[in-house]
């Protein structure tokens, strides 16, 4: 299993870079800060099961940036410089290189995310809050999945672009679309349709499903559905948390699978 060799080597190289330290530092600082503020400003009851609803908004903005910026160059920069040739003339497949890179970069993001959430969880519990462990652990798993989604998207971008610069542009495009523009565009659509008299302030179910396909909205929905006590996702079955979870998993494997399929068939020269 040579992907482990790739992953180990990649982690040790990536962890020492200034950008990785900075990105993970910002993420951890933000999460821990929220863990500190939540018992003071959050609505009662203060528990580790209600805390996730408090942080998802920040995470849906921050994790895309951190995940993508940590992984967009994983393959593209080696391809541009030519060092990927040194890997691939060893008995290593392209699949094991990509898998190794994904494990390394996704591992960094999820480790940073889960570690800082644990710390934040401790701040929630002490001195005011209640520990509701199963739901909090469930949230950690969902957050880790969300981190993997954005790392996988970053690696997919890295495979699709032949240079580091193009990967960065493409990556920012993806983050910008889903983490910045999406919600505003959805609001504009809703207001527009309401003003035109077509709907009554609420998007119809099918359209809600469509606009709810962004990774951030899916993450919000699974958090509400699975973690937050006494809350449930409203609407027809296809807006439910299980469907959202399945689509979220699809985000983790779909784009990367497609990009890999193309990469596998392309010439490196």
């Amino acid at each position: 299993m040579t992907w482990r060799v790739v992953a180990r080597q990649d982690v040790s190289a990536a962890v020492g870079t200034r950008s990785a330290k900075l990105l993970l530092g910002v993420l951890a600082a933000a999460v821990v800060m929220l863990g500190y503020m939540y018992p003071i400003t959050g609505p009662d009851p203060i528990t580790t099961a209600h805390f996730p609803a408090f942080v998802t908004g920040t995470l849906t903005t921050l994790v895309p940036f951190v995940g993508l910026l940590l992984s967009y160059s994983a393959v593209a920069s080696e391809r541009e410089s030519g060092s990927i040739r040194l890997r691939l003339c060893l008995p290593e497949s392209r699949a094991s290189v990509v898998l190794g890179k994904l494990c390394s970069r996704a591992g960094l993001v999820t480790a940073g995310l889960v570690g800082s959430l644990l710390l934040a969880g401790a701040l929630v519990v002490y001195p005011f809050g209640d520990l509701l462990l199963p739901r909090f652990l469930g949230f950690l798993a969902l957050a880790a999945l969300f981190g993997v989604v954005w790392s996988a998207l970053g690696v997919a971008v890295s495979l699709a672009a032949s240079t580091r610069r193009r990967a960065l542009v493409l990556g920012f495009g993806v983050v910008f679309l889903f983490a910045v523009v999406w919600d505003t565009a959805v609001d504009a659509l809703r207001l527009g349709l309401t003003a035109a008299g077509l709907i009554d302030g609420e998007l119809p179910g099918a359209l809600q499903f469509l606009v709810g396909l962004s990774p951030g909205r899916l993450f919000g929905r699974v958090t509400t559905g699975f973690v937050t006590p006494n809350a449930s996702v409203e609407g027809p079955w296809y807006l439910g948390e299980w469907v959202a979870l399945a689509v979220l998993v699809l985000w983790a494997v779909g784009p990367l699978g497609l990009a890999y399929w193309r990469f596998e068939r392309s010439d490196l020269s």
């Binding site: 040579t2 060799v5 080597q9 080696e78 060092s83 040194l86 060893l90 010439d267």
Partner: protein, 303 residues
């Protein structure tokens, strides 16, 4: 067992043909020189061997493993010095060798490997600070890890000084004596001549000759080279010589030197022809045809 077995390998980029139905067999244990001017397709062929590039048609096997469909198995027993690589940023020389050791599941001592390629003192420096020649030594070291049965080297002496190139040849010879097959490309003829059992000459994507150096010599009509110094040349002198029976090539080198490759019997005829044309021969000597002469013969150009 055959080390490299290529069947009608072609590669087309748009309308440009980089490789044109190359058939090539490299036997286990030999040192094979892959020769040709820059842009002839040598690197494309090696890229196909390494599965960096998929051939448009044809297939190639290394020790019976198809390089495209079973690439990992094909690369299991080989060591490679590719072209167009760069070393890993942030890794030291020693870490590069360690990576190759891990990847090949070998048990070489990285320091011994670095010592063998002559960069032991630089083991703990970042490889991105290495000169081109040191990087070339480092990657050769990575190739040597795990005692490969086949070494594939693309222009191995690039960036090396004459000393380094001689060391490279010594290592290749040692590896061959250990039993490894050596396959390397070069556009520098002296290197190929010095170490190779057989050579293949690639020209515009086509393999125009595969033979031993001795065999190539013989196919050139005995391979005698005549160097004639004259006191002055007239228009048409070269054409007259080319018309003599048994002459393979005739080229001028400056105003007063003519180099002719020809059969042994044609030597006197050439001198008689020159005399008849009123050209005074100041001096002449014969040489054994070098690989360079053969190369010109086959490709019509100097390297």
């Amino acid at each position: 067992m055959v080390a490299i077995d290529a069947h009608a390998v072609s590669k087309q980029y748009g309308t440009e043909i980089a490789l044109d139905r190359v058939d090539l067999t490299v036997e286990e244990g030999e040192t094979f020189g892959f020769l040709g001017p820059n842009g002839a397709g040598k690197s494309t062929f090696i890229n196909v061997l390494l599965d960096f590039v998929t051939p448009s048609e044809g297939s190639v096997e290394i020790f019976g493993h198809d390089c495209q469909t079973a690439g990992v198995a094909a690369r299991e027993r080989i060591g490679v010095l590719p072209e167009g690589y760069s070393v890993f940023e942030r890794l030291t020389g020693r870490q590069h060798i360690e990576y190759a050791v891990d990847s090949k599941d070998a048990d070489d001592d990285p320091i011994e490997v670095l010592d063998r390629v002559g960069i032991r003192e630089d083991a703990d420096r970042k490889a991105s600070d290495y000169s081109k020649g040191m990087a070339q030594r480092l990657v050769l070291g990575m190739a040597l890890v795990g005692q490969p049965d086949l070494l594939i080297l693309d222009e191995p002496s690039t960036g090396l000084d004459p000393n380094g190139a001689a060391e490279m040849r010594r290592i290749l010879r040692e590896e061959n004596e250990r039993g490894a097959t050596v396959f390397f490309s070069s556009h520098i003829l002296e290197q190929v001549e010095a170490v190779c059992d057989r050579v293949g000459i690639l020209q515009d994507g086509e393999l125009v000759a595969v033979d031993t150096i001795e065999g190539l010599r013989q196919s050139l009509g005995g391979g005698t080279k005549l160097v004639i110094t004259v006191d002055g040349m007239e228009n048409g002198t070269i054409e007259d010589i080319r018309a003599v029976e048994g002459v393979e090539t005739a080229v001028t080198d400056g105003d007063s030197t003519i180099e002719v490759t020809c059969t042994n019997d044609a030597k006197m005829d050439i001198l008689v022809e020159l005399h008849g044309a009123g050209v005074d021969v100041v001096n002449f000597r014969t040489e054994e045809a070098s690989l360079e002469d053969m190369f010109i013969e086959y490709t019509g150009s100097r390297t």
